[in-house]
C-alpha cells in the first residue's frame, strides 16, 4: 500500500525541465548534488520549503521540455514524496514512473488545494484527500502494466525479472 501524508507546495503551469534542473548543473548525475539546485530558477527558496511541504501540487504540462531524467531525480532527492498535477508532459511522466517517483494526474484537486494544506494520497486507489478542507478527489488508477512496473520498484527491477524469465 502506498499512502503519503504531507503538506502541499504549489506551483503553476508549464514548469519545464530547464527550470526544474538547469542545464548548467547537468555535468553530474549525483542525486544529492542535483537536488541542491532543484527549481532554483523558479524559486530560490524551494530547498527550504520542501523540508516542510513535500507534496508538490502543480498545474498543466509539468516537466515539459527535455528528456533529462535528472529532473524527476532532483525532485525525488529533494525529499518530495509525490506530485499531483493537472497534467504531466509525457517524457517526465515516463521518467517518474521508471525511477519510482509517485505521480498522479488529478486536475480538480489541484485547483482546490491551497499551499500548506495537509494532503493524504492513496496511490493504489487513486484517491487524494485534502485533510485541511475535508475534500476528496478521485482519479483512475494506473493501467496494469504500469502498476506492475511501479510495484516492482521501477523499470530496472522489472527488467531484471524479465531478463531472468528468459524474455
Amino acid at each position: 500500500m502506498m499512502v503519503f501524508r504531507g503538506f502541499a507546495l504549489k506551483y503553476g503551469d508549464n514548469i519545464d525541465t530547464d527550470v526544474i534542473i538547469p542545464a548548467r548543473y547537468l555535468n553530474t548525475t549525483d542525486p544529492k548534488e542535483l537536488s541542491e539546485h532543484c527549481m532554483e530558477d523558479l524559486d530560490l527558496d524551494f530547498k527550504n520549503k520542501v523540508k516542510e511541504k513535500n507534496i508538490l501540487v502543480v498545474g498543466e504540462n509539468f516537466g515539459c521540455g527535455s528528456s533529462r531524467e535528472h529532473a524527476p531525480i532532483a525532485i525525488k532527492a529533494s525529499g518530495v514524496q509525490c506530485i499531483i498535477a493537472k497534467s504531466f508532459a509525457r517524457i517526465f511522466y515516463r521518467n517518474a514512473i521508471n525511477i519510482g517517483l509517485p505521480i498522479l494526474e488529478v486536475p480538480e484537486a489541484v485547483d482546490k488545494i491551497n499551499e500548506g494544506d495537509e494532503i493524504e494520497v492513496d496511490f493504489d486507489n487513486g484517491i487524494v484527500k485534502n485533510i485541511s478542507t475535508g475534500e476528496i478527489f478521485k482519479t483512475f488508477p494506473f493501467p496494469p502494466l504500469i502498476q506492475e512496473i511501479i510495484k516492482k520498484g521501477g523499470l530496472i527491477n522489472f527488467a531484471k525479472e524479465r531478463i531472468k524469465g528468459g524474455k
Binding site: N14, D16, N27, S67, S87, A159
Partner: protein
C-alpha cells in the same frame, strides 16, 4: 477501421495486426541513442539490471554532443564514461570529438535512422526522425538502459492529430515557421501524448531539411512523435546513405484522427517565438523595431543543417554583424562544416564577423560556447526559449528561422529578412 502510419509502425514492431490508441504494448526497436548527458545516467542503470551485453551493438549510437569538446572536468568525466562503455560493449556507432555532430542532424545524415523504423532516444528531440517516416520518440535514461538490455520498450499507442498545410509558401517562410506557427495555434501541450502527422501539398514539396525541422519541434507541442509519410523526396534522401533496409508506411484513407487541422499558408509570414514559450509566436511584420539584441545563434538540431547555413549566408553576404551583437554559428555536423567551407559559407560568416563553433549542442542549452549573461537577449534558430535555456535565468531567447536570425544579427534588433539588401 484503417490505421495511421504511426499505428502501423507500432503494430508491426509489436507483432500485432492492429493496435489502438491507448493500448499498452512492448515494441521491438530498430535503433536507439543517447548522448553525453543522458548516457552516463543510463549506463549506471544498465549496470544495475545486470545484463551482460547490449541487445545489439550495431543498433545503438552513443553521441557525445552536448558538452563537447568537454567544457569542464565533470563533463569530461561523463564523456569518458560514455567512451569507456562504448569500447567495452563494442558499440559500433560511438562518435568521437572531431567526428561527432549534433545527434539529430548526424544520424539521418549517416543513414542510421530510416523510414519505417521504431526508434527511441534518450533525448527529447528524437522525434526529429519522424521526418523520414519513422516512429521515433524521446525517452529518459532508464528507458534507454532497459532498451539497451532488451531491444524493446513499453509504449502507450498515441492518438493521432493530422495537420494539413496547403497553398503556396511565401518567400522566407520555412519549415521552422510552419512548426512555430502550428505550436502557436495549438499551444505547448496541444499535442500532449499524441502523434502529430504533417501532410498536405506544402509538406510534399518541402526538402528533407525543412521536414526534419518540423518534426524536431513536435515535442514543443507536447507530442510523443511527429511524422511525415515518406515519398520521392524521402527516397532521394535515404537512397545513397541507408545502412539497413527500410520500409515505407502510409496512413490508410479511413484512419482515425482525434483532430484534423487544415491551414492555407499562402499568407503566413516568418514568425518569432517570444520568451518564454515556443508557442508565444508573433508574425515578423507585427514586431516592433526596437527589440535590441546581444547575441544571435544559428545552429542546433533544429536549424544547423547546410540548407540553414546557406540561407543565413545569403543574407549575411557583404554585410557586417552589428557592432553590439555576437553572432555564433554552429554547423551541426563535421560534414555540414566541410560543405559550408567548400561552398564559401564559412568565409562569408567570418567576413561578417561571426564566431564559428565546432559541431556541438553548446549554446542551445546554455551549456558552453556562448552562454547569455543576466539581462541579455538572443535570437536563436533553436527550439526552446524557456527561462534560463541559454544562460542566466534573467536572459531572453527569441526563436526564429535562419533568415530572421541573420537579418537580426546585421541590424542589431529583431528584423525581417527583407529589411536587408541581398547582395548576390
Amino acid at each position: 477501421m484503417g490505421m495511421t502510419i504511426t499505428e502501423k509502425i507500432l503494430a508491426d514492431h509489436s507483432e500485432k495486426k492492429e493496435v489502438y490508441p491507448g493500448e499498452l504494448i512492448f515494441a521491438k526497436l530498430d535503433f536507439i541513442l543517447a548522448n553525453d548527458i543522458t548516457g552516463p545516467l543510463a549506463i549506471k542503470e544498465f549496470e544495475k539490471i545486470g545484463a551482460e551485453k547490449v541487445f545489439d551493438s550495431e543498433r545503438i549510437a552513443l553521441i557525445p554532443d552536448h558538452s563537447t569538446p568537454n567544457k569542464d572536468i565533470k563533463s569530461a568525466m561523463q564523456s569518458k564514461m560514455l567512451r569507456d562503455f562504448a569500447k567495452k560493449h563494442n558499440i559500433k556507432y560511438y562518435y568521437e570529438v572531431g567526428r561527432v555532430g549534433i545527434e539529430h542532424a548526424l544520424l539521418p545524415e549517416e543513414g542510421l535512422v530510416l523510414p519505417g523504423d521504431c526508434i527511441i532516444g534518450a533525448d527529447s528531440h528524437t522525434c526529429t526522425y519522424g521526418a523520414l517516416g519513422a516512429f521515433s520518440t524521446g525517452v529518459g535514461s532508464t528507458d534507454f538502459a532497459y532498451a539497451m538490455a532488451t531491444g524493446e520498450i513499453w509504449f502507450k499507442v498515441p492518438e493521432s492529430l493530422k495537420f494539413v498545410y496547403y497553398g503556396k509558401l511565401p518567400q522566407w517562410v520555412t519549415g521552422k515557421d510552419l512548426i512555430l506557427q502550428t505550436i502557436g495555434y495549438i499551444g505547448v501541450d496541444g499535442a500532449r501524448y499524441k502523434a502529430m502527422e504533417f501532410t498536405g501539398e506544402v509538406i510534399r514539396t518541402l526538402p528533407m531539411s525543412d521536414r526534419l525541422t518540423i518534426c524536431n519541434m513536435a515535442i514543443e507541442a507536447g507530442a510523443k512523435n511527429g511524422i511525415i509519410e515518406p515519398d520521392e523526396i524521402t527516397l532521394e534522401y535515404v537512397k545513397g546513405r541507408a545502412k539497413r533496409d527500410y520500409k515505407f508506411y502510409k496512413s490508410d484513407s479511413d484512419a482515425n484522427y482525434k483532430e484534423i487541422y487544415e491551414w492555407d499558408v499562402s499568407k503566413w509570414e516568418p514568425v518569432v517565438a517570444f520568451p518564454h514559450l515556443p508557442s508565444n509566436v508573433k508574425p515578423i511584420s507585427s514586431i516592433s523595431k526596437d527589440i535590441y539584441i546581444d547575441q544571435v545563434y544559428i545552429g542546433s538540431c533544429t536549424n544547423g543543417r547546410i540548407e540553414d547555413l546557406r540561407i543565413a549566408a545569403k543574407i549575411l553576404k557583404g554585410h557586417k554583424v552589428h557592432p553590439d551583437v555576437r553572432l555564433i554559428v554552429t554547423p551541426a555536423t563535421p560534414r555540414i562544416y566541410m560543405e559550408a567551407l567548400k561552398e564559401g559559407l564559412i568565409e562569408i560568416f567570418l567576413d561578417a564577423g561571426a564566431s564559428i563553433t565546432p559541431p556541438s549542442c553548446g549554446p542551445c542549452l546554455g551549456g558552453h560556447l556562448g552562454v547569455l549573461a543576466e539581462g541579455e537577449r538572443a535570437v536563436a534558430t533553436t527550439n526552446r526559449n524557456f527561462v534560463g535555456r541559454m544562460g542566466h535565468p534573467k536572459s531572453e531567447v527569441y526563436l526564429a528561422n535562419p533568415a530572421v536570425a541573420a537579418a537580426s544579427a546585421i541590424l542589431g534588433r529583431i528584423a525581417a529578412p527583407w529589411e536587408v539588401e541581398v547582395k548576390d
